[in-house]
Amino acid sequence: MIRSELGLLDVDAIRADFPILDRTVRDGRPLVYLDSGATSQKPRQVLDAEREFYERHNAAVHRGAHQLAEEATDGYETARATIAAFIGAGADEVVFTKNTTEAVNLVAYAMSNAATAGEELSRFRLGPGDEVVVTEMEHHANLVPWQELCRRTGATLRWFGVTDEGRLDLSGIDDLVNERTKLVALAHQSNVLGTVNPVREVAERAHRVGALVLVDAAQSVPHLPVDVAGLGVDFLVFSGHKMLGPNGIGVLWGRRELLAAMPPFITGGSMIGVVHMDHSTWADPPQRFEAGVPMAPQAVGLAAACDYLSAIGMAEVAAHEHALTEYALKHVAALDGVRVIGPAEAEDRGATVSFTVEGIHPHDVGQVLDDRGVAVRVGHHCAWPLHRRFGIVATTRASFYVYNSFADIDALVEGIQAAQRFFGVAPAR
């Protein structure tokens, strides 16, 4: 992949792979897509891989002995190996889910299933007196399932606070993560603040007291080189649709021996050992956690997305986004009346910039931007408690990816200024 100045990727070459980026919106405005944090666009290569599966190899995987079924199974399992390699994992440690949300729920429900099962599952068991620890910056997907797990089992939910700068407040870690802690669940990268959390440090403390650690990597795997071994955690989850892949596929990675010991979540076909009318036994992982006909074409598409990102190089992706983040922090935060929620520096920070504009509601900021072709997200971004923490209801969020350039950020800045003029809050210059 050719690079231009400033450590940036050759965005023009990349954009040529994304048909949607050529379209216009709102009466002919070129699209400036700054909502990749919600979902990314998909390159031709991913769409082609999925279609090729449907048009040449489609069959139910792991269920047939005919040639199409063999090819489909091979495509599915090869995709698993590619995706596993992308995060430094073994293929048998990668479970396909429909998205990050299901992956988190899988672990949470497996733990409640363990609570009604025998002694052999005590490692996953939770009850009154036990604690689950999350953070105040979690996406609802990594918060509500744990609230519900605690409700079902009688365990207690506790959480790390967030500093004014938008960093995890680790000052109380030794109290918060203690002998009663059974699991710590935290985001690798915040989908609002951009903050990259010191996962390794938290994991070390958690392991010292015997707790399991789950990392929500929905916003990190797409943007940073992630190596599960290096992170030192037990479970890691992410979604395909945020990393150039198809919708409808996500990943749970889990340490081999944990998956082997863990009870299933969704039950049905293809995850069983034997089935009698009155009882059943389970297959080994990853099959144990993949009941029903899986999303094989989407797995193949996600593998193509991994290949696409690997061809660019994840270090290059991260460097590109770092440059964009520095540029955005500089130019957006410099606007009068604009307050960036999240770290002011680009270190340990991803390419997500959330902000408020004094005197204009985020919905109205977003509307003016949309009118100019600039697509951002407005609202609480499924991180309502985090917004409450900062005393605000909502923010406007711009999030960047491989196909974004400095020019896109210029368009954002001009759009914010236009909103200020339109609503009559333009600062005198």
Binding site: R26, D27, H361, P362, H363, D364, Q367, V368, D371, V378, G379, H380, W384, H387, V393, A394, F422, F423
Partner: protein
């Protein structure tokens, strides 16, 4: 630039100078509504005056007051609501609500009845933006709810 189709002058006026904002006593019932996608909130109070003996659809909407946190569209629509509904009967108010809801769901093709909707016709442009329809309806849903509560409380009291 299509912005003006949504942000009509009337809307911006109500947004900048909202009518009847601030909670008032006394009231029959209060309701609190939240837009779960953006967190915007409205707390709205309704005071009804019975026409005859019983509090029913013939009662007059004596007062509507509210407090709210939200975008220009949700603020302006709450303000317009109070102007429109205070002084009408509950039944008439519900008709206005129906008309306004229909306008909001018209995807920009509604032909609003200006006699019924008055200033609220300015929201016609909002109906082209599906994500904003909930903003425009937030206060109206709260009014419907608070009114239903007022009538129900009265019934309970009577039985």
């Amino acid at each position: 630039m299509q912005l003006e189709t949504m942000y009509q002058e009337i809307i911006l006026d109500h947004y900048r100078n909202p009518h009847n904002k601030g909670l008032r006593d006394p009231y029959n019932a209060e309701s609190h509504h939240i837009n779960p996608t953006c967190g915007d909130e409205v707390t709205l109070r309704v005071t009804l005056a019975p026409e005859g003996d019983a509090l029913d659809g013939s009662a007059t909407v004596k007062d509507v007051s509210y407090d709210s946190l939200g975008c220009s569209i949700s603020q302006a629509s709450a303000s317009v609501l109070t102007d429109l509904l205070i002084g009408k009967s509950v039944d008439e108010g519900m008709r206005v609500l129906d008309e306004f809801t229909a306008l909001m769901q018209s995807k920009g093709h509604g032909e609003p009845d200006e006699d019924v909707l008055e200033d609220a016709v300015a929201f016609a442009g909002v109906s082209k933006y599906p994500a904003r329809i909930k903003c425009a309806l937030l206060a109206w849903m709260a009014w419907k709810d608070a009114t239903a509560k007022s009538l129900a409380t009265e019934k309970e009291g009577a039985s």
